[in-house]
Structure formats: C-alpha cells, structure tokens
Symmetry: C2
Subunit: 885 residues, 2 copies
C-alpha cells in the first residue's frame, strides 16, 4: 500500500530534505528542520503522489487517504495537547500547498482552519483574548470563502470596509472583539446569500474542502501560467502541508516575519529580512502593511528593527539561520512566527536571488569553504544571468527623480506608464515598452508583469508579491513606493512633490536604487568584473564546449570577443548587402539581363565585401570565423510597394515596367522554402564566387601583410542534397586556390555547410563527405521540422504554448524530441562519415541554456549565439559539463 502522508513534529519526521519530489520543497524542509531540532509546529504532509493520483483519477483521492490523514491528525493532537474541533482546546491548522519548485503566491492557502462558532470559544478560553479569536475567525471565513468556496473576495472586504466606516476607524486593528464577532455573522450571511450554501461548521468538512482547494489550485490559470513561464512540468504536482497554527497576532509579544540568510538583492553576507509585530505571516507577504527591518543593518532607521524590539528572539533566530545555511549549504529564505515570545520556524527554502546576488553568494560561499568551485558554478543559473547583461542607468546622466521606493529587483527599465495588466500585455504585443504601475500586484497581474519592462508598486516590501515575482522574472521592480498615489479611475499617479503622471507618459525605473525618474534616462553596459570575473574563470575551467558568436560587423565582433566569444559561428554576409549604397549594386546585379551584367555589378560589391571581412578578421585576431555565403531570396533586396519601385526605377534608370516585372517574377508563395541559400549559388555561381574571392583576398592580405594566422571557414547554406555541396565546394576551392596562388601565401581554409533542412540531417553521412564542418541552423530546422513559419506562427503558437500543447516555444528552447533528434542524428551520421568533423550550432538556441545543455549532451564542439548571450552560453556549457560528470 502506498504511503501518502508523512508526519513531522517534536524532533521527529517521517520525511527528510531529500524527499523534495515526494513532499514538495516546503514539506521536505519542514521535515528536515524538525529532524535537526529546530522549533517547527507539528504537522503532516500529503505527498505529491496524492496530487498525481487525484488528477489521474478524475479528481478523486486514493481510497486509503482519509484514514491516513485521520491517523496523523491524532498524532498532531497528541503532540500539541489539543484536539481538532474540540470546543475547549481546539487545534487549529494551516493548509498550504508546496510543490517541488517554489511558485510564490500562485497557489492556495487556508489558515486558522478548524474554527467555528463552538471552537472559537475554546480559542477565547485558551488565549483569553476574544478580539484575537474573532479576528482569526473572520479572517478564516474570508480566506475560506474565497479560496475554497470560490467567492469573490470583494464582497466580504466591502462589509469590513463598511463596518470600519460605521465605526469611524481606519485600521482593521481598531475594530473591537464585538465588531469582529458581528462581522463573523455578517460574513456567514453574505456567504449564504452569495453562494446559496451555508459556511461549513464541521472542521473535518473544512479540512477536506481546503485540501481539495489546494490540489485544485495546481491547475488554476495563474499557476498554469507561472509553470509555463518557469518551465515547471504539470506532472510534478503539489504536496499539501497541514500544520498546527501558531499565531503572530496574539498581541505585541507576537510577530511574524520572513528573512534571508544573505541579501537576496545584492548577495551581501548579512542576515536580511522583515517582520511585523502582531500580524499573521500573510500580512508580510501581501504587502498591506509596510514591515520593519529584521536588524539595524538592514533598515534605514525609520522603523525599529526586530534586533531592537525583540532582542532575545532575534538572537535565537540569528543562530537558527546560521544553522540552516550551514546545513543546507545555501542561502535560505525562512519564515517564522513568534507566539507570545516563543519562536517557531514555519518554512525554510533556498532563497530566490538576483543574478548579482547569486554570483556574489556563490563566490563568497566558495571562499568561505562552504561549497567548492563546481558547486559555485552550478549555483548561478544561466537563465538568470541575462538580468546582469542588460544595461543599467548611465550614472553620469541627468535624472529627474520624482519618487523613490524600495529597490526590489535590480536593473533599469523605461517605458510608457500603464495601470493594468491587460493593457500592459496589449501594448507589449504592439512592440511598445511599458512600465506597469499598481498600488500592489497580485497573482492576477502575472501576465502584465511578464509583458512590462518594469514594475512600480505603491505598497509592499522587498518580499511583497511584486518584488518576489519580478526578481524571478529578472525584471526591474521598484516596490513600496509610498511617494506615489495611484488613481486607477483617472489613469494617473501623483507624486508627493505634486507631479501628475498620466497613462502613456514615459518614466524610467532603477530597480537597484528604487528611483523613479521622469522621461527616458540613458543607460550603460554593466561592468562584468569582480565576483563575476572570478566565477567566469571557473566556468571556463569546467566547460567542454566552445562558445562562439553570431556577428556580421567588426563592432559586434569586438563586443562579442569582450564577452568571451571564442570565434564567430555565423557571419551573415547578406547583412552586408543591405548596408548603405551597397544595396544599389546588389539591385543592379539582380536586375542584370545576363551573366556579364551580373558580373559587372558583383565587381562593384567585391571590394566592399572584402573590406568587411578585413575588419572582422582583424577584430577576431585569428579566432575562427565562419562566413555564410548569401542566403536570402533575391527579392528581399528589391522594394515591393509601387512607390518604392518607382523611386528605384528612376534611380537605376530602368523602366517601371521592367522593374515591376522583375519584382513580380521573383515573387514567391513560400519564400522560406524557395529560391534561396545554396540554390542561389547553384543557379548564379558568380555570386558565391565573388564572395569566396572577397573572403580569401581579405585573409591572404592579412596573412601576407599583417602576419595574421587565419583559417577562414566558408559555409554553404541550405544544402539539402550532397550534390549541391559537391558542386559549390568545387567552385569555391577553385576560386580560393586561385586567390591563394595569386597572393603566394600559405592560407588554409575550411568548407562546410549549415545543416538546416531535415533532409540534410537525415543524409548527414553523405554530406559529411563534402564538408569539413557542420553548423546546425536550428532556426530554419525548427521551421521545416515543425512545418511552422516563424513569421506566421503568431496566430496560433502563443495559444499552443499557453495551452501547453507545446511545452515551450520551439523557437526559444530547442524542441529536443523533434528538432533535437534531427541534430543528434546529424551529428551521429556526420561523425560516422568523418570522425574529425567540426560540429556546432548557430541558431538562436545557441544562447538558450536548456538548448546549450542539450548541445553538450549530443557532443557538439561549440555553440554560437548573439554577443549578449555569450556569457549565458558559457555558463550553461559549464553546467552541462558539470552535470555530465
């Protein structure tokens, strides 16, 4: 019989920290904390297997579950000396979700469960505090009605607000026990009225209702969205933790807080957190009251810290957090509650952190001897690194600071102000940068936060919803900005100093300082030194794959080399064709009536191409450079509207008719599958001849005159049949050898091909006979393997990803079972035919971590990606190598 429920309490636990997959992160850590002797309220965990069985079995529980839960509830009762549903000394419990991966705020929680009109009397007896008892009760009703019964939260909130108005008070805390008692009655009536059913009085009914709601919330839309954004499989499921309640809101000797063993924003080795006196944990996370710092060092002096207010509990907590960090060998994110002076640990988990903090913590922990270099490398996620590589504000720029909030998630962002998530999404779809401004954010805003460049909230601390989610997304966020007053009605916010910022106005956020600025402030590239430099030395030490870049200009080449690129994996010559007045010569070539005409035009392009290659070779200082010969269909170089055609006709001194006929004759129904790539090289060999000549002349000149050591890699695109490559290789060799002979120098060169068609991958053994290297063009390979035009997929691909029909956008992360299988086959067959063939990838996947790891696994020699992703790829390659070992 499968065991579904795991107990923890009083130093004993059936689970452990290792059992994360089964018990979820929270459950495993509660068990682990219990085992190592930390003060954890007793409870038990329903494993993730219950969730899986629940969904596999049409939302029904395994048969044995009820009995197991009842048995464990008795154990908790025994340990706590209370009874669930007892009218004298009732046990109250929390019911919380807890998956394998953290999904903050995404899923449902119910607190104070077990309260009813009878047990509330027991709480009053035990606490001697009717106000606390009724406050807990009305909170429970609100939460349960919303979470479990599915009632809109506003209805009860309105009753609360009405009562406060009636009583003439501002804060919830100003309501009396009688007020709250009356609220309970009003709430229950409202629930009955709204839902047509009584609020359940039976604690067991409450319990199973809550368990069902938590499991059900695994599939709620915001959880589904979150999983999609964070690549969490639906199959993992969530666990449910049922734990004795402890109360941080039983008076001023009570408190609740969240903290990090190190600063999650900067990585500084300083215990860091927030707490609220006389509050429940949800109050901290929800960001409704602005919390106080946990210690003096972490605050700005405006509010007293826990270190000062509760020095004994602080000292105990300080010790516990050290124990936890040493035990877990990682920075921990902890939740605690102090009930009448007694400290309880409610949660510990590895803390989310910014990329910057991640690096600093990894490097410092290595220096402290807590972890080794390899572990340090694995601690920094390549996905997250992207944050660091974005520009930050230029420190020398003029800034008009209009407000200041908390530096909740670093980076800089600029955009037009919008006030709602849907609007943010719509504007982003139109390609506009927006800043989402909210009083506070909630899980319903996820899609808007994702779409926005940055997030600004008026309320909420460093651990508020907005802050946590934004850091997870690597998005700039300023939270708790009390300087602004948001007016949703007017679609504007006003600052303390009196400015009014309307929807559509441009503002800039600095998530590292909390500053809000008017207009657009210039940005600068991040300095990647210090801890980052140390880490990248380790990264390069442990990775096997080389990382190259995709670059078409000397400037990009330079940037990429500074980011550590070890060569160019893809230099697209057509980008050069578009530049400046070159396109005129290109058009002349296309419009030429015959070979002679084309050759005349190509002769004009030759010196320009040559100078490009000279520039790039110089920048790359002898590192390998793969140059792809002309790829796009010729019509891409011609204008398409009548007006443009007329202008060009005048410019080229040809008749409008002739030009229009040419444009029409080049029109294609499916240009993606048309007359492009090596098909151009076959039908117009003179174009490739010119390009090879330019490449080889540039190389020979540098070798001869500047002492360079260059081995150009000439890449033929879109080969589908080996014969194409055979012909073009023969042509290229002839031109190259002629140039080498003319310069009288000894220059080696390689000729290879893109593998970007399924047929090329399937016949890679034949093709390898003619290719010294393969570069997998996974952008086009994805298009052909899926039969999916990137340009046209907007009508259904987002829906596919949203509905999890595809696990990922295959243009972002390589589709391993389809496209990846072709790449794997291509490698295998290529190496069979030519054991020393050089294998790389040059699609955009080359800079996406999961794809880079895949490339390592199938044995590629290098990945090539855009300059700004080179470091991400280096780190991902190191991860791959370390995970492999």
């Amino acid at each position: 019989m499968t065991k579904y429920v795991y107990f923890f309490g009083d130093g004993q636990a059936e689970g452990s920290g290792e059992m994360r997959n089964l018990l979820g992160g929270k459950g495993a850590n509660l068990a682990e904390m219990t085992s190592i002797g930390l003060p954890v309220p007793a409870g038990f965990t329903l494993s993730t297997e219950v969730c899986t069985a629940f969904y596999a079995n049409n939302r029904n529980y395994p048969e044995t579950l009820k009995a197991e839960v009842a048995e464990h509830m008795r154990s908790v009762e025994t340990l706590m000396g209370k009874r669930f549903g007892d009218r004298d000394n009732p046990l109250l419990v929390s019911v919380r979700s807890g998956g394998r991966a953290s999904m903050p705020g995404m899923m449902d929680t119910v607190l104070n469960l077990g309260l009813n009109d009878e047990t509330v009397q027991g709480v009053i007896q035990q606490s001697s505090d009717p106000r606390f008892a009724y406050d807990s009760y009305r909170r429970f009703i609100q939460m349960y009605a919303n979470v479990v019964m599915g009632m809109n939260g506003d209805a009860l909130e309105d009753i609360l607000e009405d009562m406060k108005d009636e009583r003439g008070v501002e804060q919830d805390t100003e309501l009396t026990a009688d007020d709250l008692k009356q609220l309970v009655v009003l709430f229950k009536t409202k629930v009955k009225e709204a839902l047509g059913q009584e609020f359940p009085e039976d604690p067991h009914e409450q319990l199973w209702g809550a368990i069902g709601a938590v499991f059900g919330s695994w599939m709620n839309p915001r959880a589904v969205t979150y999983r999609r954004l964070n690549n969490i499989p639906a199959a993992w499921g969530t666990a449910v933790n049922i734990q004795s309640m402890v109360f941080g809101n039983m008076g001023d000797d009570c408190a609740t807080g969240v903290a990090f063993t190190r600063n999650p924003s900067t990585g500084e080795h300083l215990f860091f957190g927030e707490f609220l006196v006389n509050a429940q944990g949800e109050d901290v996370v929800a960001g409704i009251r602005t919390p106080q710092p946990i210690n003096k060092a972490g605050g700005d002096g405006s509010l007293p810290s826990m270190e000062e207010v509760m020095p004994e509990s602080y000292a105990q907590l300080m010790k516990i957090q050290e124990t936890l960090e040493r035990h877990y060998r990682d920075m921990q994110d902890i939740e605690f509650t102090i009930e009448k002076g007694k400290l309880y640990m409610l949660q510990t988990r590895s803390g989310k952190r910014t990329a910057k903090a991640s690096i600093r913590i990894a490097v410092e922990m290595e220096q402290e001897g807590l972890i080794n270099e390899k572990e340090a490398v694995l601690r920094v996620s390549p996905e997250q690194l992207d944050q660091l590589l974005h520009p930050s504000l230029d420190p020398t720029a003029d800034k008009t600071i209009i407000a200041k909030g908390l530096p909740a998630s670093p980076g800089a962002a600029c955009g037009k102000v919008v006030f709602c998530a849907d609007e943010a999404e719509e504007e982003a779809k139109l390609g506009r940068d927006v800043i989402l401004v909210r009083i506070e954010t909630s899980p319903e805003d996820i899609h808007g936060m994702h779409a926005a460049q940055g997030i600004l909230t008026a309320r909420g601390g460093m651990t508020s919803h907005a802050a946590v989610v934004a850091r997870g997304m690597g998005k700039c966020c300023v939270s708790g900005c009390g300087d602004i007053k948001v007016d949703y009605q007017q679609n504007q916010f006003t600052t303390r100093s009196g400015e009014t910022i309307k929807k559509g106005d441009l503002i800039t956020l600095d998530g590292s300082t909390g500053e809000v600025m008017l207009g657009q402030v210039p940005t600068v590239q991040p300095e990647l030194t210090g801890d980052f430099g140390v880490l990248m030395i380790w990264v390069d030490k442990y990775r096997r794959m080389k990382v190259r870049t995709n670059a078409d200009t000397p400037h990009d080449s330079k940037v990429a080399r500074e980011f550590g690129a070890e060569g160019i994996g893809l230099c697209r010559t057509e980008h050069m064709f578009f530049e400046g007045d070159r396109v005129t010569a290109v058009r002349e070539m296309i419009l030429a009536a015959d070979l002679e005409g084309r050759k005349t035009a190509l002769a004009k392009i030759l010196p320009m191409q040559k100078s490009d290659f000279l520039g790039i070779f110089r920048e790359m200082k002898g590192l390998p450079v793969t140059i792809r010969l002309l790829d796009p269909p010729l019509h891409e170089f011609l204008p398409h509207t009548d007006a443009e055609i007329e202008e060009l006709a005048a410019g080229l001194n040809v008749s409008m008719r002739v030009l229009k006929d040419k444009v029409d004759s080049l029109h294609e129904f499916n240009p993606m599958l048309g007359h492009r790539g090596c098909r151009l090289g076959i039908t117009y060999p003179e174009i490739y001849d010119m390009q090879v000549q330019a490449i080889m002349e540039a190389a020979c000149e540098l070798v001869k005159n500047e002492g360079f050591d260059i081995v150009p890699e000439i890449m033929i695109p879109l080969v589908g049949h080996v014969k194409e490559l055979e012909i073009l290789r023969t042509n290229a060799v002839q031109v190259a050898d002629e140039v080498i002979a003319r310069y009288g120098v000894d220059v080696q060169y390689l000729i290879g091909t893109m593998i970007e068609l399924p047929r090329a991958a399937l016949t890679a053994d034949e093709i390898a006979a003619q290719a010294e290297f393969f570069s997998f063009g996974t952008n086009d390979l994805t298009q052909t393997c899926f039969g999916l035009s990137r340009d046209d997929s907007g009508k259904f691909l987002p829906y596919y990803v949203e509905q999890e029909i595809l696990p990922n956008d295959p243009f972002v992360a390589i589709d391993q079972s389809g496209v990846g299988e072709l790449v794997r086959l291509g490698c295998e067959k290529g190496r069979q035919a030519r054991s020393d063939i050089k294998l790389g990838i040059c699609g955009e996947h080359g800079g996406e971590p999961s794809s880079v790891i895949f490339c390592h696994k199938i044995g590629l020699d290098y990945v090539s990606c855009s300059p700004f992703r080179v470091q991400i790829a280096r780190l991902a390659a190191a991860h791959a190598a370390l995970m492999d070992a």
Copy 2:
C-alpha cells in the same frame, strides 16, 4: 590483374548473356549468341569497367588495356583470315557502344574502320568491287570525321550533294566508283581545312580514336538527357564492342535488316521486321530509305518482302529467331546482315514494346508455357502501363483524315503543330499541347519529343529513331508519313491532297492506325479487358499491399473502384468547401465575428458535407474511406484582388473595409507553414466538430437505413506534436459518440493522422499512442524535408533535375534517402508503439512505381493514388512483392 577485354567468335566466347553489367547488353548477347552456335562475326568487348576506370582516372585508360586489345585483335585476325591494316586482305571492324540498358541512337558508332588509301585497295581486291570499296571508304570518313573528330556532318554532306548535282543524279547509289574515289579526296581535304589536322591513315590510330569517342559519348548531352529520362545511372558506364565488319551493301545478294520475334506494337505472335537490299544496317535505323517488310504477313503488299526475295536466308532467320526467343524466353529485337547470301547475326536483345504488346506477349508466353504467371507479371513495366490508361480516339467521332503514316507508337494525341524541338519545349513549358512534326528525328530532338504530346515524321520506318524513342517514352507517334511534305522554311507542311497545315494549327494523331487528322478529335477511355484482365488477376494474386485511391467525389470514387481501388486513402474535404455556393457559407464562417457566428455558418455547411459523405460511402460499398478534416489555410477561401473583394463584400453585405481587413489579417508569408491543418482544428474546434458530425451522421444513416457496413476513418492533418492529436481526438470521439448514441446504431470508426511533417515522423512512437492509423502525406513531407515549396521550385528544380543534382524530381518519385527515410522511421516507430497500426501513403507518390516498390519494402499496408494510377500501383505492388520473394 583485371581482365578488361572479352573475346567472341566461331562458337566460343569468353563472356555470356549473364554478364550484362560487365559487357553491356550488346556485348553479353553477342557472346551468348556465339556460344549457342549462331553465326556472329568475330570480335571482342571492352568491358564497362574500362569506362568506369576511364572517367575515374581523368579520361585515361587502364595501363594493361592496349596490350589486351592487341592480343584479341590478333585472335580475330586469325579467325577471319584477315589482318587489321593489311594492304592485301584487310580486316575492317565496327566500333559500337553497348551499355547495360539500351539507349537507342544516343551514343556513337563507327563502321568500316581500318580503311585508308592502302587498305581500300585490299578491299577492292577481295570484293572485286571498287565502287563498294570507295563507297565504304567515303562513308567511313564521313562517320569518323563527325563522330570521332567532332566535325559538323553538313560540310561533307554538302560536298556529296554538290557532286550529285554536278553528275545530275538523285541517289547516292548512282555515283560511280570514280566519283566516290574523288569524294574521298575531297572529304579528306575538307577535314584538313575544317579541323587543321589530317584524317588519320593509321588503322590503330583510327581504332583508338573510335574507342575514345564511344567512351566519350557516354557523357554527351543527349546521352545524359536520355539517362535522366529513363532513370539510368551514369555510374553504369558503357562497354565498347569491336567486331569484324560484314557488309550488306556489296550487291543485290546482300541485305541488312532489323526484326522483332513478335510485333512490338500489338504483341501479336508474328515474326516482324524490315530489311533493305544492298544497304548497311545504319540505313535501316536512320530511316532514309523506306525499308521492305521481312515477310508477307507483315507488309501491305506494296513492297516485296524478304520472304519472297531471299527465301533461303529468310528460312534460316526464321529458325534463328525461334531459337533466340526460346533461349531468352522473351521477345527479341535482332539485327542481321546478309553478305553475299550468307546470314550474320549482329545483335539480339529483349525488344522494346508498347504497353499493349507487353501485356499480350506476357500473357501469351505464359499460355505457351514459356514463362510462368509471376514472370509474366514482372514482364509488364508499371511505368509503361500509363500508356494504356490514356484515352484513345473515339471510334464513332467524325475524323478528317489528311494523311496516313506508320502506326509507330500507339495512343492518341492532339496539339498545335510545331516544327522544331526547341519550340516544342517552349510551348510545353507554357502549358500548351503540341505535336512535333519533323522530316525525320535525330537524337538532338529528344527534348522536343519529350515535351510534345505526339510525334509525326515524314520519313523512317517502324524502327526509325522517332518510332523507337516514342515507344520508349510511351508517346504517340506516326512515322514514315510519305503523304506529307515538310517545309521548315515556311513553317508548314502540305499533304498529298493539297491541304497546308501551318505552325499553330491543331491536328490529331492516332499512333495505333497511323492516321493524321485535322483539328481535335474526341477521345474515349481505353477498354481494359482481355489480356489486360488476365494479367491483372495475376497481379492481384501476387501483391501484398492494398491499393486505395484519392477521391473527393462520388464520381471519382466510382471510377477508382472500377479501376480496382480497394478503398479511399484520401478524401479531401476542402474540395467540397469550394463547390458551388458552399463557398459562400464557408466565407460567412470565416468572416463571423465570434464562435456563435461561426457555428451558424457551419450549420449551413453541415447538410452539404453530410450529403457528400453519403454519396461517397454509397459508391465505396463498405470499402474503407479515409476522410481528412479541413487542411488549407482559411485565406484560400477568400478572394484576393480588390475587384473580387468588392464583389464579395456586396454579396455578403459587409463593408469593403471589414472584408479587406479580414483578408489582410489572414495573409501569410509562408502559407505552406502557416495556420492550417490541425492548427485550424485546435483554434476553431467547431469546424472539425461539424465535419466529424457530418461524417458520422452519414455513416450512421447508411448503417441504420440501408444496411451498410461502414467504418469511417477520420484523419487529422498536419499533426506535429502528439498533444495536438490528443486534443482533437478527444473532441472527435465526443462528437462521434454523441452521433452514434443519437442514431442508436453500432458503428465503429477509426481516428488517425497524416504524417506529413518531419517532426511527426520523428516522434511517430508518441503520436501512434493517439492514432489508429497513419497516412504518410509525402507531398508535404517532401516540401518540409527538402525545405522546398512545390509552387516556387520552378525557378531551380528543373535545372537541378537536368543537371542531375537531384536524381529525380522528388515530387514525382519519392526521395528514398531523405523523405523515404522519414517514412521508414515513422513506420518503425509507429509499429513499435502500436503493433496493429494501419500504415499507408496518400501523396502522389502512391501511384509512381519506384515509390510504390519502396512503400512495399518498408512494409506499408497500402498506397493511395489518383484513380487513373490505381492499376499502375497494383502492378507495381505486385512487382515489389515478386522481387521481394
């Protein structure tokens, strides 16, 4: 040491009929004929390995070749009692090509080799016929200068014509020995003048020149074209046969001829052929003189037959042809020469024949006990069958016969008259049907013959170039039509009765009667009974694969069933969407603003779809029918020009702007890779729901009311990821089960998918979990596997095929190593996951013989093709099964 040369002569031969690959067809058969005691002039064969070595080694011969040739020449000299180059009794030889497959007229031949100013005297001595000797000499010079030395043939022909004018004679035969002797001098002078080199006098130099020319001719453009059209690999190479000359032109007791052991046009079991008295073999083939029939039965009485003129030789030949047919167990095409009353066999090979003849011969030979049923089936080539399936002239139609020629290649053809091959090709490219009219054809005309619907020649017999090539191509041809006089200058021909037919005029040919008719004559479908019926019974007995058809209407279904289709493999529902006023409802659906609007429009389409399916199910009488749900992108149903949009807007009563916006919003850059197939079903499930409902209602109605037994096969197109199919399968099952329940009948149905994307083939194991059948859509699979748009490939694909960059047009014959590999993988993975999965193909490859054979090899259950190719597919499937066994 490799043996390169094989001797034959006087009943002994080093080679045999089995050694076709090594010695070529001609060489193997000369060896075989020699071995079985037939009178064959002695000679030897340079094997195809010499050709391969020659091209592999930059056109150099193997080192040992010269010595081997010399040695074998000595054996021939000994046997013939003559010496090569001897001034008294010289041996003259022919040098001929001979590949593994026959390539009539494609390659070079030199006759009378060994003649020079000295040896001609020896020939005079031996023959006592100076006129014959000088005629042979001048023929040799003409042939050698043209074939070996590369001189334009016209220059020497002009000298000959000038001399005939001077002498006032019309025929070559009227020139005297002195005239011819003078011609030799004039020819040699002209050669020197034109080429700047002497005509070679040394017989050994002549010999090696001719050998080189034959090997060289393997790569001449017309041979390359022929191989491409006939799927002969270049790697096979040709052999060279060097054989003692015998002369059919030494007087009236000499003759030369070609014959078939049965009629190659009708298949009738009657010795059939032509001969010319006092002529060389080339004269018969070239069609310059109209030859006499070989026997009375084969002629029309206008010319005396060989049976009458040379009864003894005829009797000997009659016996030999019987021996040959029994020996080879196949109809033979033989060449013979009678030199001063003595019969020599120069060649035997399996005779080319029309499809009709092929079938009759196979069936009759089986009845004669010469071959068995399986062999009979293998004797009829599926490619050729196509000929039979084309329409012939309606026998009841009015015809204006303007001329009559020889029925050289059966079938009927109609088109505009053109007089040159290039023009034929150009017109055909524009989609126009043409009839190529020539005085006679030559290998230079091949491309025009290929492009034309039919060929009409004024000169040449049943074995002339035009006739042989046309039969090989399965094209209608009327040859030797002396009724017409062709005037290339005026671009017209005139008939004996005085009509003038100009370029562009419409004529009709009947290749089975030799009739030439004015205008277009209506055609009828062929009757496929008699021998054909017998053969097809054997075909069905020996094949394993089923043959289905692609049909979208009751009419097509009926036609296909009559052709033996065993079900429908592809019923395209979108064709129904276009019909009549249905497209209006479809457009209404597309333009609907919301789901409700779409459902309203779909409700109008439902009864129409249902009636289609009723009709098709009724015609197919319970045979399986696979129905593909909507596949094309929705924009295909909307108009595109402004005028059409305006008209439609008025018709639908919507604004032009709204309609144009919709058309624009549906525009796709690459519709082939766009929002189509199951992607429509995912985003607009209501469309597929309607279609499934229509299918199932039709099936249930027939089962319930008409006692049918129907298992509809519902096919989801363009699946790339199993999840798509999972969702659409769930929807379809729900709709289908609802219909079944509503009708209260027990109807089974299958749900499956097209495998037409590389990703689907690669993940076929996953997909098979959701599919009861796969149908490989190899049209789209070819497009995506090659990255090749069928609509756009016209700019380079013909060039690719012409240049042999691709061995075949991959849209015609399946590309086995790329696309085929995906199909193979898909089958393997599909069966792994679901052992009883039904596997078929429904691309156009399903009716192309080499593709059908491939489908058999990889284990498909059926192929599906257009109705008119069903019989071809049946035969090909039988070939596959028999070759397999």
